[in-house]
C-alpha cells in the first residue's frame, strides 16, 4: 500500500489517517501477535500498543516508503516486550533475568506469517472466504458451498484462483522458506 497523500497525512499525525492504517493493518498485526503470544488478550493489547507507538513515532515515518515493514517492526517489538513483561510477572525468584531468556519458537516465522496474512487480506472477499473455510475451518469444497450457499463448482474455481493469486503474491516468501 503506497497511498502518498494518506501516508503524508499519517506522518503529520492526522488521526483519520491513523484510523485508515489501523483498518488496513489491524488483522495482520493481531494475527502475528496472536501467533507469537498465544493469547487473544495479549494480541489485542499488542494491536493497540502497535498503533499507539506508530502514531507517537509518525513524525519519523518516511511517507515515500511502504508502511507495512515499518508497522511489522513495531508490532514485533511490542510482542517481544509483552512476552517479557508477562514472563517477568510469572518469573520465580530463581529466574534472575527473565528478560535475557530466549524468545519461544512461536516468535520464529513471524515475518512470513505477516506476509501471508497481508496477502490473504488482499484477496477479493469471495475468495478470502473460501480460503478461510478451507484452511481455518477445514471444510471440504462441498461443505464450503453449503456454508456460503454457492455452487460447489464456483467454490472450486474461486479456490484455485485464490491460491494462484496467493502463490504469486507470496513467491518471495516461498523462496525464503523453501
Amino acid at each position: 500500500m503506497r497511498d502518498g497523500a494518506l501516508l503524508r497525512r499519517f506522518r503529520s499525525g492526522d488521526p483519520d489517517a491513523v484510523r485508515v492504517l489501523y483498518e488496513r493493518f489491524e488483522r495482520p498485526v493481531f494475527a502475528v501477535a496472536f501467533r507469537a503470544l498465544g493469547s487473544r488478550a495479549l494480541a489485542e493489547e499488542a494491536v493497540q500498543q502497535t498503533f499507539l507507538q506508530a502514531w507517537r513515532a509518525s513524525d519519523r515515518f518516511d511517507p515515500a516508503r511502504d508502511p507495512a515493514p515499518w508497522l511489522y517492526a513495531i508490532a514485533r517489538r511490542v510482542a517481544v516486550d509483552l512476552y517479557r513483561r508477562e514472563r517477568r510477572h510469572k518469573a520465580s525468584d530463581l529466574d534472575a533475568q527473565p528478560e535475557m531468556a530466549a524468545l519461544p519458537t512461536s516468535f520464529e516465522g513471524m515475518w512470513e506469517a505477516w506476509q501471508v496474512r497481508l496477502a490473504v487480506e488482499g484477496l477479493p472477499t469471495e475468495e478470502f472466504e473460501i480460503v478461510r473455510c478451507t484452511h481455518f475451518l477445514g471444510l471440504t469444497h462441498a461443505e464450503t458451498a453449503d456454508r456460503l450457499d454457492i455452487p460447489v463448482g464456483t467454490v472450486k474455481s474461486r479456490s484455485f484462483r485464490a491460491h494462484q493469486r496467493l502463490a504469486e503474491a507470496l513467491a518471495h516468501v516461498r523462496e525464503v522458506t523453501a
Binding site: G13, E44, T140, A167
Partner: protein, 209 residues
Amino acid sequence: MRCGEARAAYLEGDRSEQVTAHLATCPACREVGAPIESMASLLDDVALWEEPAPGGWERTVRLMAGAVPEGPRPPALKLAAVAIAAVVLAIVGFLALTTARAPDWEFDLVAVDSPGQASIAGWNTEAGSRMVLTVEDLPPARDGFYYEVWLSDGPRHISAGSFSGPGSVDLWVGVRRSEFPRVWISLEPADGVPGIDGATVFDTSGFDS
C-alpha cells in the same frame, strides 16, 4: 482424472494416490501445482486466521488520548488541540452569554405541602430552554428518593432533570415554556421506573390547586 478435479481435490487436502499421481505427471499441473503446494502449508497456520474482537480502534483512541506524542507534536494534533480549545471557549462563552443575559422568564414556584422556597429562571435557546432552579429550605430527598423537575402542557410531561436537595441546579430541556407552561417538582422513588409516581412538592401558580 482431469486437471481441474485434481487441483481442486489437492486444495481440499486430498493427498490420495490418484491426485498426487496426476499432479506429479501432468506438466500443466506440475507448473502451477508446486507453488500452490508450498504456499498451502503456510495457510494452514490457524493462528493466522484469528480475528480481533470489535472495538479495538476505540480502545486505541483512548490510549492515544492519554498519551503524549514523542518529539514535536504533529501539526494536525496541534490543530485538534486548538479546535478543542475553541469548542470549550465557545461553550464557556455561550454559558456566559446566557447567564449574563436577562432570563426570558422567571417566577417563584408554589410549595405544595412542602417547606421551602423555589424559583426558576429560563432562557429560550435554539434547541429548547435552559433553566436555573434555585431551591431553599427544602429538606434533602430521603434515601431512595430524588426530586424531579417537570414541564407539562396538560397531558404531556417532559422531565427536565433531577436534584437531591436545596441549592441551585442548571437544567436543559428540549422544549420551550411557551409550549409547556407548567413547571413543577415531584419527589420520586429511585426505583428505575420512569414516569411520575411521587407527590408534588412545588408547582406553578394556577396549577397547584
